[in-house]
Symmetry: C2
Subunit: 373 residues, 2 copies
């Protein structure tokens, strides 16, 4: 059988529990399609900080061995990083999130993709009124290795600020920076995706205030002109955060810079009722990374109740975008839909109408999805 090497990164919190379900699902997919998935666990995040500390340093949230294994793999499957154990605001302290930021940077994953897809069975779990959810099928494309999160982060004492707001004492500064090139490649990807979807791109910026946004807007239109079948619309980020709630069905592909995309994609997750349902793909020119949109949920870690569906759907995205196994991806998506249609739930997506015996733990939900395959 054909062999794929998957670099699996359990990370922290519920990470190990949900990635176990992804592996189960992968084994089942492999059996059906005569493919072998060789999964190798590597350290990242808080788990890596602890292990490297124990080994006597240097302390790292992304050890070289992990990075090498990721580079040598066909795809990276990440669960989640972070937790209160490693929350330390000391300037020099290494944080689990740095592992995530570093692997994005090192693998050149400049684009994060979050499909917001409604599952019929879960309309009741959404915060929004059902009539607003009809026709919601939105793809958020977030720039992932530029902007505020990757510019210089600085602290200084006693300098007078650019603003001159009677400033005194300590100053902090983060820099939002973009090159045309960084904007171009992300917008081009969004336009390509839109041309295979409903042909509409909404480019989100704050061009009435920010220089990066004004450049973003110019580049977006220049790139858009290469796609006569796609229409590009601009929207201010404050308005977009409102429109996502007011009328989410208006969007086809939404493309935006790193910070705005971070905020808007988490907001959009509420359309589906639970962050536990959304997966994301981080793509670049080489190996890609797939992960749930949710975090490591330390409060429920180790209790066997975490929802593994976002992790399973990240496997679906991996099959589609890295392994060219579209048919297997469709089957997996159909299996998840079937399980939900049959009324099976984890506790985060259960509601008053859910029968108590239909509420499953993490592992039982993984088994159900495998069964439905």
């Amino acid at each position: 059988p054909r062999t794929y090497r998957i670099c699996t990164l359990p990370g922290d919190g519920i990470g190990p529990e949900i990635i176990a379900e992804a592996k189960k699902v992968l084994a089942a997919v492999g059996a059906r399609h005569d493919v072998e998935f060789v999964c190798t666990d590597q350290l990242i995040g808080g788990a890596a900080i602890d292990a490297t500390t124990e080994a006597g340093g240097p302390v790292s949230a992304l050890p070289d061995t992990t990075l090498e294994a990721a580079r040598a793999s066909d795809a990276v499957l990440l669960a989640a990083v972070g937790g209160p154990k490693w929350t330390n605001t000391n300037a020099g302290a290494i944080r689990p999130e740095q592992g995530l930021l570093a692997i994005r940077k090192e693998l050149g994953l400049y684009l994060n993709l979050r499909p917001v897809r409604m599952f019929r069975a879960l309309v009741g779990a959404s915060s929004l009124k059902p009539e607003l959810l009809e026709g919601v099928d939105l793809l958020i494309v977030r720039e992932l290795t530029g902007g505020l999160y990757f510019g210089a982060h600085e602290r200084e004492w006693g300098v007078e600020g650019a603003g001159g707001n009677g400033a005194r004492g300590e100053f902090a500064r983060d820099t939002m920076e973009y090159s045309e090139y960084e904007v171009e490649r992300v917008v081009r990807w969004a336009c390509q995706a839109a041309s295979r979807r409903r042909g509409r791109v909404c480019s989100v910026d704050k061009a009435n205030v920010l220089e990066t946004s004004r450049m973003w807007r110019e580049v977006a239109h220049a790139v858009g002109a290469e796609f006569p079948e796609v229409t590009i619309e601009d929207m201010y980020v404050d308005n977009a955060s409102m429109q996502l709630v007011a009328n989410p069905a208006q969007f086809d592909v939404l493309v935006t810079e790193n910070t705005f995309g971070d905020i808007l994609s988490d907001e959009a997750s509420m359309l589906t009722g639970s962050l536990g349902m959304l997966a994301s793909a981080s793509l670049g020119d080489g190996v890609a990374l797939y992960e749930p949109s949710h975090g490591s949920a330390p409060d429920i870690a180790g209790r066997g109740i975490a929802n593994p569906i976002a992790q399973v759907l990240s496997v679906e995205l991996m099959l589609r975008y890295s392994l060219g196994m579209d048919e297997a991806a469709d089957e997996l998506s159909a299996a998840v839909t079937r399980v939900l249609d049959e009324g099976w739930r984890t506790v985060d997506i259960a509601d008053e109408l859910t029968a108590a015996d239909r509420v499953l733990g993490t592992s039982a939900m993984g088994d159900k999805i495998v069964e439905a395959l």
Copy 2:
């Protein structure tokens, strides 16, 4: 009678139409309370750009005469600025929004206040399910003269970016900067407000990535320690944008930096069903400024259908925060509630249940509120 000088700034789009209703309401309030409000219109935004262009320049979105009048007044009442007529991305072009940013800066309005209050009668207009709206009473405190919107905005050619993302061509850069002092005064205000409310402050940041946020968080807790009766909780901005939709009733006072506050407050407006219902106060150490949270709505300008309620509620905030007329403010708030309870609507807040003869134009809605006073 006691006299107050109000600097009125009609601005652009629907601005002149809605500010006319605010003046009507002010006259009625004045008559009841034996106070005279002397309103003087001044230019700002696109209107100022046009007028100064016509006068042969220098072109300005905030002429000196306006600024002087604002400084000499007891309060500033602004409608809205901006519109497609003045959308010009040329680096040197003056934009209407610059008038707004400049007056905030010149008057030292470092804090923007947006109360998100549910009107019983409008629960049906919200995007959210009614059960999520119970108990929603949220005060958003946004830092207004710092951060990304007031740091340096730059463009450059051909430099290699800090990120080194294979960057080439043009670069744009915006700087997010805060001093301890700027954070302190805003958080202190939020804590004071919370101590007169339900005693809870949620401080929103992105401390897992940004240096400004890590400083924000430290300062927030140092300030919070001065208020033993107030609890301070931290929340990441991506999570906050989700929680505002998932469970808005959890919030009492939410305090955050400029850009995050811009995005989150527009999102929160959807709880009330229409941006046309929310007012904001911009406060500093001197004269304060009051405005609706919505924009100039150029698409409906001149049609007499704009909702004047947010502008009227900005008068309420002015009575309360600048003029010490709490009783008059309460009456005005009650009058708006009564009008809505009686079923009167403007078109943006009407729904299938609204009788056609209860849908009012801008001026008729103003009259109804005056009547209800």
